[in-house]
Symmetry: C2
Subunit: 464 residues, 2 copies
Amino acid sequence: MRQPYGMKELGRLIEPTSIAIFGASDRPGSLGLRALNNLDGYAGRVYPISARLSELGGRVYYPSLADLPEAPDCVVLAIPAEAVEPALEQCAAAGAGSAVVFASGFAELATPDAIAAQTRLAELARRTGLRVVGPNTTGLANLATGAHMGFAEFPHGFVNRPGSIAIVAQSGAMGLALSQASEHGASISHVLTCGNSCDVDVADYISCLAESPHAGAIALVFEGLEDFGRLRVAAHTARKAGLTVVGFKLARSSEGSVAAASHTATDTGTAEGFDALAAETGLIPVTDIEHLLETAAFFSKVHALPGMPRAKGPRVAIISSSGGTGILAADTASLFGVALPQPASATRGRLVAALPAFASARNPCDVTAQATSNPQSLQACAEALLSDAAYDALVLPVGRGLKPAQLDALSAAALARGKPLCIVWMSQWLEGPGSREAEALAGLCLFRSMRSCFNALAAWRSRD
Amino acid sequence: MRQPYGMKELGRLIEPTSIAIFGASDRPGSLGLRALNNLDGYAGRVYPISARLSELGGRVYYPSLADLPEAPDCVVLAIPAEAVEPALEQCAAAGAGSAVVFASGFAELATPDAIAAQTRLAELARRTGLRVVGPNTTGLANLATGAHMGFAEFPHGFVNRPGSIAIVAQSGAMGLALSQASEHGASISHVLTCGNSCDVDVADYISCLAESPHAGAIALVFEGLEDFGRLRVAAHTARKAGLTVVGFKLARSSEGSVAAASHTATDTGTAEGFDALAAETGLIPVTDIEHLLETAAFFSKVHALPGMPRAKGPRVAIISSSGGTGILAADTASLFGVALPQPASATRGRLVAALPAFASARNPCDVTAQATSNPQSLQACAEALLSDAAYDALVLPVGRGLKPAQLDALSAAALARGKPLCIVWMSQWLEGPGSREAEALAGLCLFRSMRSCFNALAAWRSRD
């Protein structure tokens, strides 16, 4: 088995200082133009290559790779399938570090010719040391540097804060669908997709991100791999680096595997094999793809907490302003085997002092609807529970938006104790007031699903 | 067992022509003022009752129930617990039809006195025929008439269209959390909550809604009941009326049941008992509360489809512009035992004609990323699959927003064939462009979870 690539092999791909584009174009809608426009925010050097154009819109075009002033770190190939192989040979000969191949029409066609063509690309990569992404890929984006080597509408801009997530996806469309979470406040550092994975695959991306300063956790979605052993090694590498990988595996069923054959034509393995790999390496599996990012953000934030305690359980307190949501939290804790110990007697005293008689000064703690008219009561109870050594984390279901000042105070209380406060957003106004603020605060972990929250808490383990 | 109430018993509660408020107040934040303000959009007659006020802000206040010009259909009691019983006696004596009791401090306290006090309210209701909602409730709202007898911030306004949902919730906070889906376009006809349920309970609401012209489906969330047999009868009644009940049961675990004791103090039964009731009555259970409304909206729309075929299976076609999302759909269909037959040869011919060579002219049908630059291709394939008698429904995962014109055309195609087209919103921009439009169109059923979509499809059965 080939070992996963690290920053040594992929540095010129993930953090390029110069990018060339084969097939750069001024034709509206063309992949070449979309790739070129995606580099608008990039601080590195950009070299559009076109036999037809020499200058357009203030950009200098180069007739060929040989005419560039330097060997580019990455070359984007927005050209037809039949032109790919000779272009990659040119890239390797010119000393380029990496290449991204958009073209479809390789192994996913499942014809002998197309499979052989892809095999030749893989051999070329091995022989020359040129690192090749694709074919049949939308490319990748490093949002921290603005290096976007692809034609997808991935988000722009990155603020380095707790909760940041690197998305690693085989499918470009999946990467795009996930990355749109940035529209409601998710912090995305990278969107790395790889399509048919003739050379660079999701395991390589993970291994390389373990050396990146920007990734806080990895959200992985993929269907197949050349070698699952490489993913095992990469997941171990990430864990050693303190980087949690949260994963969703596609093509778990035979129906899905058949569909995958005509998508990226990689070996999908078995669902059981992936689950075993996850259990062995500490990769956190999710059962629903819509839980992927919030789970990754949880681990990203937990990892950044000051003096984070080693969770052994973990033991959780629930606080709610509605009995119904407290019951749901208790049900879900039970489902995931998460312990809900009762508070220490000193804590109980603080709860009783802060609550009306008809509230519940226990775990789950129901502060009742009075919390809406008296936010101090909720805050006092949250602080009492966070201060109790019996608890590793606090869960707060929220049925309607909280005010920014309330969220700030709750986040500060959580940070002061070095424990995560999980907000479960029960309001079906999914992007309603307060959700963006909660997502951005270092002490708060936002979930839009109770099941997703307790799945993450149950998976949270001491990571030494 | 008492039979569930119907419109005969609850008409004056659900569709009142006059509403009185005990404890009407001008004090900011008071429940009395909030209840009064909630009636701003109500066309019926409103009678605030106050010993202190006589006229304020253009409103005439009445000193007592006896001074009203008529016996009100409903009386809202925004008064302390100890004042409730005599006030209810007055309501009954005055010929009021129903009453809503906000006050906490009854059976949920679990003290002998408080339990006895609630028992007296229940007996009063039985003896007098006054229908009593609560105690310990936020009340109920009929959004079609603007009759809101409660203090919660339930939404205002209702447009009668396919996809409308009546929310029935024991917990007011749950009702509120769910009803906020109206902010992103869900159509909510009623929010009916009942708290401790000393008289009117969720089964009564369901039975009564079966006679309402506005409810398209019912979304039920509750923890306990006096008598599960009543829910069984009500669910049968709803089904006979063509009204699907989608339900989420709280307090499934022993931990949740303990928490429920101090919330509404109703008998929570067992999870198995509820599941058996669901299977027997055709009530559709969901495993995640965030799936509740989209599942109810699916059944609401399916019920309104012209010439809806009787689904026997059902048999589903998948169409995607991304192989990855198609694989996920196939995986999830397999998980729920939903059949994905291959298209008839004529259909296959139509798909081949509309697709490039590297696309998949099968089920799942992957139209590839070209669908983004050529929407006609997606539309042609959707029409081919919807026209094929092999299919009862079409599933379309969407990784990024669709344009309104595209959504209109897809909805029209679905309506023309009388088959639902399920849009699975894979984009994590949860309320992004197109989602509101998709939610409003009669031919499209919007899901934000693949699992939720196939759970609904699997549960979809011939309903005669």
